[in-house]
C-alpha cells in the first residue's frame, strides 16, 4: 500500500511521504482529518483518568476498531514508542498518531486536543481544589469510574492478549508472560521491559537473518 507508493516516487522525496499519509486511507473522502483528530483527542483526553496506558487504550478503540485509521500492529508499535520516549505518554501517542493520520497538521491538531482538556480542567479546579477534593459526591463518581476504567483496559488487554496467543509463536508468548510478571509482580520499570523485549527482537532478527528466512 503506502510503502509501494513511496518507492515509486523515490524515498528521498519527503514531501511525497506527507501526501502518502493523506492518501493512505481510502475512507478519508472529503472529511477534514485534522479537525476530526482534534475533536476525537479532545473527547478522549477529557475522559481518561489514570496513566498513559488508559488513553492509549481508548485511542486504540477509536482509531483502530472504530475509524480504521491505524492498524492494530501499528498502534502497538506506537504505544511502545510513546512509552520509551521522554515526555507524557498521552502526548507522545498523540504526536505519533497525528503524524500518521494527518501529517504536520494532524500532529498539531492531535497534540492540542490532548492538552487542552487537562489544562482547562486543572485551571478551573485549582481555584477551588479543597472543596473539590473533599466533596463526597465527587469521590463516589470517581470511585465508580475507577471500575469502568479497569474494565475498559482489561477488555482491550484480553483482545490483544488472545491474539498474541493465537499466533502460536512461543517466543512472543514468552515475552508477554515474562513482561507481565516483571511489570506486575516485580514492579520493573517500563523502560527496562521495553529494552529487554527490543533486545530479544534483535537476537531473533540476527538469528533469522543468518538462517535466511523471513521474519
Amino acid at each position: 500500500m503506502g510503502m509501494k507508493t513511496q518507492k515509486k516516487t523515490g524515498p528521498e522525496e519527503e514531501q511525497a511521504g506527507e501526501k502518502r499519509t493523506q492518501g493512505d486511507e481510502p475512507k478519508s473522502g472529503g472529511e477534514n482529518k485534522p479537525l476530526r483528530l482534534f475533536l476525537t483527542m479532545l473527547y478522549i483526553s477529557a475522559f481518561t483518568f489514570g496513566g498513559g496506558f488508559v488513553i492509549v487504550t481508548f485511542m486504540k478503540r477509536k482509531f483502530v476498531d472504530e475509524l480504521h485509521w491505524i492498524d492494530e500492529k501499528e498502534m502497538l508499535d506506537m504505544t511502545a514508542l510513546a512509552q520509551s520516549a521522554p515526555g507524557p505518554i498521552a502526548v507522545n501517542a498523540a504526536i505519533l498518531t497525528g503524524w500518521k493520520v494527518g501529517g504536520p497538521a494532524g500532529m498539531a491538531a492531535a497534540v492540542l486536543g490532548t492538552v487542552i482538556p487537562p489544562v482547562a480542567i486543572l485551571s478551573v479546579i485549582s481555584v477551588f481544589y479543597q472543596a473539590f477534593a473533599a466533596n463526597p459526591y465527587v469521590a463516589m463518581v470517581l470511585r465508580g469510574m475507577q471500575s469502568g476504567v479497569a474494565a475498559v483496559i482489561l477488555d482491550v488487554a484480553l483482545s490483544l492478549g488472545s491474539k498474541v496467543l493465537q499466533t502460536k509463536q512461543w517466543i512472543h508468548t514468552a515475552v508477554m508472560v515474562l513482561a507481565f510478571i516483571a511489570s506486575f509482580f516485580f514492579g520493573v520499570n517500563v523502560v527496562w521491559i521495553i529494552l529487554a523485549a527490543a533486545v530479544t527482537g534483535i537476537i531473533l532478527g540476527l538469528r533469522s537473518g543468518k538462517e535466511g528466512k523471513q521474519v
Binding site: S123, H172, S183
Partner: protein, 188 residues
C-alpha cells in the same frame, strides 16, 4: 523572566520523565518544591491528589497548576509548552524513523517482540486498576477489604464491553453514575 524559568524547568521535566506519570512525579517535586520553591510540600501533595482525580498526564496537570500560581495564564502556557516541547521534537523524529524504516526485517523483528511486551504492560496496568477498584489497591487484596459496589460495577462493565462492544467512554460515564447512585443509596 519567570516565564522563561517556568518554561525551562518544565522542559527538563518533559525531557527526563521516561515511562510516564510515575517517573514524572519525583521530577516535578524536585523542580517545583526543592529547586524553585514554587510549591510547599503540602501544596505538592494537593497537586498529586488533583492530578490523580482529573484527566490528563500528571506533568501537564503540574505545569498548569504551578504555571497559573506563579505566572498566571502566560505562566501556565509557558510551563505546559515546555513540558511537551521535548516530545514534539523527539517523538516526531521517531515517527519519521518508524515510517521510513519499519519494513526493514531487523526492525520488523524488534517490533514484533515489542508488541507482546506492550500487551503485557497494558494488562498489568489493567489488573492493578481492577484491584484498586475492587479492593482499594493490591496491598489490600483480602475478602474483608472487598468493595462490593466497585466489584459489581467492574464485572458488569467488563461483561457489557466483551459482549456488546459498547463505547468505552459511555461505559465509564455509566460507571461514574452507578458509583454515585450506589453511594447515595448507602451501598458503596
Amino acid at each position: 523572566m519567570m516565564i522563561m524559568k517556568l518554561f525551562l524547568s518544565f522542559l527538563q521535566i518533559g525531557l527526563f520523565s521516561i515511562g510516564g506519570g510515575y517517573a514524572a512525579i519525583p521530577l516535578i517535586q524536585e523542580q517545583t518544591v526543592t529547586v524553585h520553591g514554587w510549591l510547599t510540600a503540602d501544596q505538592f501533595m494537593d497537586l498529586a491528589t488533583i492530578a490523580e482525580m482529573t484527566p490528563g498526564p500528571i506533568a501537564i496537570n503540574g505545569a498548569t497548576f504551578v504555571g497559573l500560581k506563579v505566572g498566571g495564564l502566560a505562566g501556565a502556557a509557558a510551563a505546559t509548552f515546555g513540558c511537551i516541547f521535548p516530545s514534539l521534537l523527539i517523538v516526531s523524529l521517531l515517527a519519521w524513523v518508524y515510517r521510513k524504516y519499519r519494513e526493514l526485517p531487523m526492525l520488523q523483528s524488534v517490533l514484533s517482540a515489542l508488541r507482546p511486551a506492550v500487551v503485557a504492560l497494558i494488562s498489568a496496568a489493567g489488573v492493578n486498576m481492577a484491584l484498586q477498584a475492587c479492593f482499594g489497591g493490591r496491598a489490600l487484596l483480602a475478602p474483608e477489604n472487598a468493595r462490593w459496589a466497585g466489584i459489581g460495577l467492574f464485572v458488569v462493565a467488563l461483561a457489557v464491553l466483551r459482549r456488546f462492544k459498547l463505547n468505552p467512554i459511555l461505559v465509564m460515564i455509566l460507571c461514574g453514575a452507578g458509583g454515585l447512585l450506589l453511594g447515595v443509596l448507602g451501598l458503596a
